[in-house]
Amino acid sequence: MNAERRHGTLWRRLVGSRNLRPCVALALLLLFNILFTKGFHRLEVRADPLASVAVHVDAMVPGTGEWKLEAVSPGSYDVMVAYRVAEEHAGREAAVAIGDKEFALQTRLARSEGDWVEQVVGRVRIERPCASYRVGFGTAGPRPSFPVHLHSVWLVRKWRLYGSLVDIVRRGSIVMLVAVGMTLVIATAGIDLSVGSVMAITGMVAAQVLSRGGPVWGAVLGGLAAALVAGLWNGALVAFLRLQPIVATLILLVAGRGIAQMLGSDQKVRFERPGFEFLGSGSWLYLPFTLFVVAFVVAATLLVTRKTATGLCIEAVGSNERASRLSGIRAGWVKLLVYGFSGLCAGVAGLIAAADIKEADPFRCGEYVELQAILAVVIGGTPFSGGRANVPGSILGALIMQTVRTMMLTLGVPKDHTLVVEAAVVVAVCLAQSEQARALVLRRAARKGAPG
């Protein structure tokens, strides 16, 4: 009790005393991350930042591949390249250029088939924050070219507090957004499995508008409108047709990607529109723009749930629907609202995802995002049985998971292996919250304590 009072009313009002533990956990994780792992800023080579697949740049033939690097903070970095080369070409030289500096890369063979080679080629100094640098990779030169599979080019630096935090926030923005919507849905004792598909649809709608020359605001509004419709569809199925939430959202999950595919004629749709791209990769005041988007959405949600009658209605419906109806609450409309909102949040996330990679990918966009959002909500302490909406908790949960993911990446664990750790975390958290598990442990302890 005393600790809460010391933290002051503002803190308590904003975060709530029940979020103290997750906050502490997050702080510890971040500290560990900063002290013991390398901060890095990675340039993705046309890879979907959310996917675990790196797109192979096949057979780089004479010439250069060029990409834009946006470094966030100035300083000097190690330049590291991840690549793979065939046995017969191992040992030949390739070239890496950043800005106007060029480095030589002596290729070598990976330790086993299917592995990537990670090699540091030199150091570079980044002068201006949030500036663009051209990055080139080539196999031409004095010798004839040879094919190299390039995974990514990394700028690595140790001990970077600011970079780590920014990196975590930027990568975690999408899950944070989806988790906000998911929190309200779970608070009504429901669930929304379709958020990934809604993201795909939103991205596709926006991409289509942009690629046909439409205005940026048109793409944003169009995408969000599509997301809202999808969310309301789910809400109608749950509230008025009385379908189970798992079942109702399963339908959109299956069909939604098909719809996204159809909108894009079964292809990924690329676009180039700096105004829109700012959503995903832009920065304000040295902070990623997505952070402001997330903050806005969270603030708006908190305003509505804490300050208006709606928040209480949502929690009441989740806690005891019958009693809520008997108190004059229109449970059907409440459910419609939360599913629509969840769709909207997924829509914002979809816009950001598309803006980040400059294309709408109906196949892989939002993959696993529903699971990650549910995980964030569970860690954040909103129970599945409904009745309590802890939005700040879900944000903390998403940040904790993202920190863990980032930590593992920088410790060298391949992105695809992190799934195992995430699964372990889900189980651990659920067990901690499950009464049956606790009973089991207590019974064991009691038996051990009692004399034979």
Binding site: K307, T308, A309, L312, C313, E315, A316, G318, S319, N320, R322, A323, S324, R325, L326, S327, G328, I329, R330, G386, G387, R388
Partner: protein, 512 residues
């Protein structure tokens, strides 16, 4: 009042059973005994302890004190399955079989005959037909159980229990969903079981049925044993008296207690209801309530009081009749509509219909009144706290803080929170359904005084209670319900507990 039994014939003896739940003593040293081959009815109002006694007997809950002797041996079953193996089977109101499996499978599940490792379906159907024949049922054993009406499903459940050598069959409200013909068939089956030496424990709130089938009756009240009686020597009036805790002679001797203001309230009716009813729920009834008047609804469990209350609040849609408020016709099609007209409803089952368990005291109290407190959609925390504080003080709600989750409060305090919720809406008509159930004596008096104060300030009140003395003390008029129908309205001089009991007990020519 207790009847001595020949121990040689006893199949079941429960002695001094005590069962406590957090905050409530559900069974207070209850003795209960049954003979071989008898049909025994267990009677009591809500909260009397009937279901708790059964749960203790069938192993759902362990008992805190006392012992159970069944068929000569001490038992302490730890699960219904164990009780079943000992010979105690239960038939529940919601038939506890697997609806989508066939009749044959339901009869034999767990012991399906096999041949060379696979299920021998021909043998299954043959055996099932034999079992049914033993119970004199003729059904197509291949059809799914759900394709038969509930009455038949119950018979199948009974046949299964008998086939599993049940010595004691417990039937928990078996006739709730049966029509008259089906009830008669059920009774025939029960008599057949008697003939085979199976004892039947029959729980019901239908007095007529209890008189029709039971050899003896045991009445529980507030967790304690009132007594066990031979049916042949008991009258209806006596039974009702036992169930409601009123000694009929003592009541007759008591002076007619009247409250000064019972002279009636003048003025135009606030709420008038004509022929309001709902098919399958309650027969059309008339009712009118004036401003400042307290109208009581009295009757036994199952008489339709709660159904009437729910209709008044729009919690259920009426299939007939009309409602007028201050002379104008209105439609109470939903709780919101009723609330818009100034009607509030404090439900009977606070656990499932009233309390929002995860929310705090403040949030539960302001739940119904939020919109009114809001300015431009924004509800000020301060105003909420004010309202909550006011009612916490007024009703004496005991809670560590207004944010304490309501599920951690005691039953009595939960009831007060729900009362507060409706009082906060400043209703013009308040329907109170068993507002004093589960509250301690001191709080009961407070609630009663509150009702009086409210009616004096001009609020119309509909007051439902199983405690006859409360209803009589507080109401200006009392409508008496029986078997889902309003049968009388008492007021003025003729309003007293004796009269109400007589009205409830008054029999039809063909009843006992």
């Amino acid at each position: 009042m207790a009847v001595a039994q020949e121990s040689g014939q006893a199949i079941l003896e429960m002695r001094g059973i005590v069962k406590r739940f957090p905050g409530v003593l559900a069974l207070d040293g209850v003795d209960f005994a049954m003979r071989r081959g008898e049909v025994h009815a267990l009677m009591g109002e809500n909260g009397a302890g009937k279901s708790t006694l059964i749960k203790v007997l069938t192993g759902v809950h362990p008992h805190d004190a006392g012992e159970i002797v069944f068929d000569g041996a001490r038992i302490a079953p730890r699960s219904p399955l164990e009780a079943q193996r000992l010979g105690i089977s239960t038939i529940y109101q919601e038939v506890n079989l697997i609806p989508h499996l066939s009749v044959a499978e339901n009869l034999l599940l767990g012991r399906l005959p096999r041949r060379w490792g696979r299920i021998d379906w021909q043998a299954v159907h043959r055996e099932a037909e034999e079992v049914l024949a033993a119970s004199r049922l003729a059904l197509d054993v291949r059809r799914s159980l759900a394709s038969y009406p509930v009455a038949v499903q119950q018979m199948v459940a009974i046949a299964r229990a008998v086939n599993m050598s049940a010595k004691l069959l417990i039937m928990d409200e078996p006739t709730s969903s049966l029509d008259e013909g089906e009830v008669a068939r059920l009774f025939e089956t029960i008599r057949g079981l008697k003939g085979k030496g199976v004892s039947v424990l029959f729980i019901t709130h239908f007095l007529g049925q209890a008189f029709g089938i039971a050899d003896r009756m045991t009445v529980l009240r507030n967790g304690a044993l009132v007594g066990t009686f031979e049916t042949a020597k008991l009258t209806r009036l006596e039974l009702i008296g036992h169930m409601l805790g009123k000694d009929p002679e003592a009541v007759a001797e008591l002076g007619r207690e009247k409250v000064a203001h019972r002279a009636g309230v003048a003025g135009e009716p606030f709420l008038e209801v004509e022929g309001l009813g709902r098919r399958g729920s309650i027969e059309p009834f008339d009712l009118s309530v004036r401003k400042g008047e307290v109208v009581g609804l009295a009757g036994l469990l199952g008489s339709g009081r709660t159904e009437a209350a729910r209709l008044l609040f729009g919690a259920e849609r009426a299939t007939s009749g009309q409602v007028r408020i201050e002379g104008r016709a209105v439609s109470l099609h939903s709780p919101r509509a009723a609330m818009a007209h100034g009607i509030g409803y404090c439900p009977e089952d606070r656990k499932s219909d009233g309390v929002i368990p995860d929310l705090g005291v403040r949030e539960n109290i302001v739940l119904a009144v939020q919109r009114r407190l809001a300015k431009w959609g924004v509800v000020s925390r301060r105003k909420q706290a004010e309202v909550a504080e006011k009612f916490i003080r007024l009703l004496g709600i005991v809670a560590a803080s207004p944010e304490q989750p309501v599920k951690t409060l005691s039953g009595g305090n939960q009831q007060k929170v729900i009362l507060a919720r409706w009082l906060a809406t400043e209703p013009r008509l308040l329907v109170l359904d068993e507002p004093t159930r589960g509250i301690d004596v001191g709080a009961k008096a407070e609630v009663e005084r509150l009702v009086e104060e409210l009616s004096r300030q001009g609020m119309a009140v509909v007051f439902i209670s199983s405690e006859l003395d409360e209803v009589v003390r507080r109401s200006h008029r009392v409508a008496v319900l029986r078997d889902r129908r309003k049968v009388a309205e008492l007021s003025g001089d003729e309003l007293d507990e004796q009269a109400i009991m007589r009205t409830i007990a008054s029999t039809h020519p063909h009843e006992r």
